[in-house]
Symmetry: C2
Subunit: 164 residues, 2 copies
């Protein structure tokens, strides 16, 4: 593993869907719940207020009853371009005591007729960066981003059908 000044893990995928559809799948909590964690885990969106200081709270449930509780807050929103959120703060920016402190900077860019989707995840130290990587960061986030791409493509096709 490479370390960096930001104790950063990065993942990037080219998604076969237009940016507007990727945005739709991210910005609507009903859609987000469909791709946010690797199936067969499911996501309950407990809070979703897409503005700086607004709550972003997901609870994930595994097939064997395991759960992952992830309260957090949105920090910056640029529609169809960038979403920043962190587990280090809660709704209204109150300091949190997260089980894993991280900030994610998600970007969406046009690339050919597809969308380049990149998530940079920043940690407070090398230990947390390593812990997150060993938990399966690349595989886990990779599966979710692929699920996002599939859903975004469906949404884009639905829109095309409706427009015909």
């Amino acid at each position: 593993m490479m370390t960096s000044a930001n104790y950063e893990l990065t993942i990037s995928r080219l998604l076969n869907a237009p940016r507007s559809a990727v945005w739709q799948a991210w910005s609507d909590p009903k859609q987000l719940a469909k791709w946010w964690c690797p199936r067969p885990w499911t996501t309950e969106v407990r809070g979703f207020d897409l503005r700086p200081g607004g709550v972003f709270y997901t609870l994930m449930r595994g097939p064997d009853g395991d759960t992952s509780d992830n309260p957090g807050v949105f920090l910056e929103i640029l529609p169809q371009e960038r979403i920043v959120f962190t587990s280090s703060l809660l709704e209204g920016w109150r300091p949190a005591t997260p089980w894993l402190a991280m900030t994610a900077i998600v970007t969406m860019e046009d690339e050919a007729k597809s969308t380049r989707y990149t998530a940079r995840v920043l940690h407070k130290d090398e230990e947390d960066q390593r812990k997150h990587e060993e938990m399966g960061f690349h595989e886990g986030w990779g599966i979710c981003i692929e699920q996002l791409g599939e859903l975004a493509l469906e949404l884009a096709l639905d829109t095309q059908v409706l427009r015909r």
Copy 2:
């Protein structure tokens, strides 16, 4: 001490200066250094980038060589209205390991011909809230805000003199 859902400490003062001058004393790091900590302590502004995700880093020095090191980041900026910053994140929103996790929400409002200046400071739990209060939150922040008011009044009078 009252506790609240936000583990919040609040301080408010009516400053005898226009909001534009209070903003000038806050938004210019050269001016901020003059009032940021109770004299005879001094402030070195090590980083000041007034935008969401921009560094806000002060180092304070006491007359006996004591120091207080306070890296952090700005979260929201509404000119002449609101400044939000936290010690829970660093420049670029990277998670931090602060000695005291807090988020401050500073607001400035017109009140008669003066400025109502309010700082709400949020903590992660009651223990941190109490620790901050016992460190002398109300006295310390109170002195600084009064220093801010005096400087803002000077800046406002200087501007008036220049305009004559």
